[in-house]
């Protein structure tokens, strides 16, 4: 039953990805000003949205770990696994944003990169979560999980700053397409394509987030079993 459910989920995900790609390349109208290169938006924006969501999951996991670490160890470990999964998959999506963005910028602006508020705060966000992953990779013990949780909480504070950056400051990056006030918005034919791709990347993202969570939970159990074995050997 579990295998059928997973197989069905994978099939729906793949169908959505193919449909999203078809919509982005063949159905969405060409942008009047930017032309074909505008189609990058259908991968760039959903990737940023999914990255923000997963950093929020990492924030919840980090808070959960700090809340449960002295009381309920089982819940603390589950929270920690969610914190790690959210941060790692979030970094994957944020990497997509930071590579597709310059490719788009080179054609639209004539430059690969500029140190404006949106781009810089996104790079800082990526660096914070990469440092979070490096901390988890190279430090060990329960202290590491606490330090990582604190770093995860501080990292998440950058998410609203990234989101608001092109509202608070004048940036090279375009103004917000949605909720950006007067003059913002998108042609309805493009909105539906963006929504399909948003859905497809969310479903895909949740799949790899779940996979990462399962792998981390297994890792925690292996480490706990090894520690128990070492403890038994010393008695």
């Amino acid at each position: 039953m579990k295998k059928i459910a997973i197989g069905l989920y994978v099939a729906v995900t793949l169908a959505l990805m193919v449909w999203g790609y078809y919509q982005a390349i063949y159905v969405a109208p060409e942008d009047a000003q930017q032309g074909e290169i505008f189609r990058i938006i259908f991968y760039h924006v959903p990737s940023a949205s999914v990255a923000f969501l997963f950093f929020a999951i990492s924030l919840c996991g980090s808070i959960g770990y700090l809340a449960f670490r002295h009381g309920n160890q089982a819940w603390a470990q589950i929270s920690d696994a969610w914190a790690l999964a959210g941060a790692e998959v979030g970094v994957v999506f944020c990497t997509v944003v930071l590579t597709t963005g310059p490719l788009w910028g080179r054609v639209a602006w004539g430059i690969w990169w500029t140190w404006d508020a949106r781009l810089t705060t996104t790079l800082v966000l990526w660096l914070i979560y990469v440092s979070y992953l490096l901390l988890r990779r190279f430090a060990a013990g329960p202290q590491m999980q606490t330090l990582a949780a604190v770093l995860g909480i501080f990292g998440a504070l950058d998410v609203p700053i990234v989101y608001m950056s092109n509202r608070w400051w004048r940036t090279q990056h375009p103004s917000p397409v949605f909720g950006g006030g007067e003059g913002s918005g998108m042609a309805p034919a493009m909105v539906s394509v963006l929504m399909w791709n948003m859905l497809a990347w969310f479903v895909w993202g949740l799949f790899i987030l779940g996979l990462r969570f399962v792998v981390e939970r297994k890792q925690q159990k292996i480490v706990a079993a090894e520690q128990q074995l070492a403890l038994d050997a010393t008695i």
Binding site: Y21, Y43, I208, R212
Partner: protein, 40 residues
């Protein structure tokens, strides 16, 4: 590179996206299989 070809850049962006995503899934699958082997 003075006049970048938009089509090439669009293809590059889509390919890079999938390379990153599938590369990560491959690494995750490798890690998962290694765990299974260790458990066995």
């Amino acid at each position: 590179m003075d006049h970048p070809n938009p089509h090439q850049f669009l293809v590059a962006a889509y390919c890079v996206t999938w390379a990153i995503q599938l590369g990560y899934v491959a690494w995750l699958t490798f890690k998962w299989r290694a765990q299974k082997r260790a458990k066995g």
